[in-house]
Amino acid sequence: MLDRIAKAQQQIDHACRTLGRPITVMEVCGTHTVAIFRSGIRSTLPEGLKLLSGPGCPVCVTDQGYIDAVLELAQRDDCIIATYGDMIRVPGKDGSLETCAAKADVRVVLSSEDALQLARDNADKTVVFIAVGFETTAPASAVVVKEAAREGIKNFCILSGHKLILPAMRALLGGMNDRVDAFLCPGHVSVIIGASAFAEIVSDFGRPCVVAGFEPLQIIEALAEICRQLSNEKAELKSIYNAVVTEQGNVAAQRIIAECFEAADGYWRGLGKIEKSTLVLKEQYRRFDAFARFGLSDEPGEDLSGCRCGEVLCGLIEPPQCALFATRCTPAKPIGPCMVSSEGTCAAWYKYGRRS
């Protein structure tokens, strides 16, 4: 293993020396953010290589308008809110799901299946599943919507905030942050969409895309591969996570997403409105759409004052550049979602990125 690390480091050093300009690599996956910090990889990289975290944490990229819709639903006494744990502490203007839990019925679930089960068990209430996440969690939401339809379960619906990663990468390169030289592509999203999905980033933008897993060695080797491509001035698509990711991805999962959802324009924190970037339920499943059922607004919300999560998510600033970082905003008292989520960039910086 040591010789592989040494070889990768040589490759990285070589690229930094010969290119004569800083290299910026972005990862777009919360699990990568944490894995990179925890392993201390950053400190081993030459100064010329900058690693940025992009819009890869599902909770973080969720627009404030969606959070407001969730909190509005939580005020109703005819609803049970079923949510993945990470959403529960995301603050809105008047508190979070956690702080309004005294009045609201909020249940943390590990799976969309648990949310549907809550609906079966609580016939007198409507269970709203807070369906956030990228292509990895979208099929899980689609499965339960189909199940609910088949069983004729009426007291269940989902608030879809599902997002697609490719439109976000395109939006970044297309304007928000075109200084990104290459992408470390997300391992788990790639399991679903397939490594080949990133080919359009390579062909349309000439940026190297390397799909990697989460072990430190894999991440270093992926960075070395990116550096190799940059010094050869030839962008390619490469996956080094072949133990899990295939070219074409999980076709059954893609099929079920396509059956239930269609892509619509949607709002992202920091990135604003992105064309065809959000998954909404198709006409035949619209009755399970919580936005429609409760007449909720899907317009963008107002960001929390002073929080710079939007810029953090686009890789425009690093968390310490936010005046609130580690002063008023800490994981114990988070102000923005990037500090709430365990996969958020601000939380990762707070936990691993500081020396006391």
């Binding site: 956030v132 899980a140 499965v143 788990h188 399991v191 989460f214 072990e215 999980n250």
Partner: protein, 80 residues
Amino acid sequence: MCLAIPARIVELENDRAMVDAMGNRFKAKTTLLPGAKLGDVVLVHAGFAIARVDEEEARKTWELFAEIEDFEKTQNRISG
């Protein structure tokens, strides 16, 4: 948001499975992985098996998880 973890299918009835990861057992559905069989090691994400994983990869991930757990424990002891 949701950790993806490799786990072995130890019980399977239609698409309902019981899986085992490092001795921890939990429920998972195989709806998204038609053809998953008893004994397969699969990557479980938010309660669903999303990919088949080879044994070697699974072992590496389990070791990494165990290491992280130990590491976090010692870190907490040092800082707390």
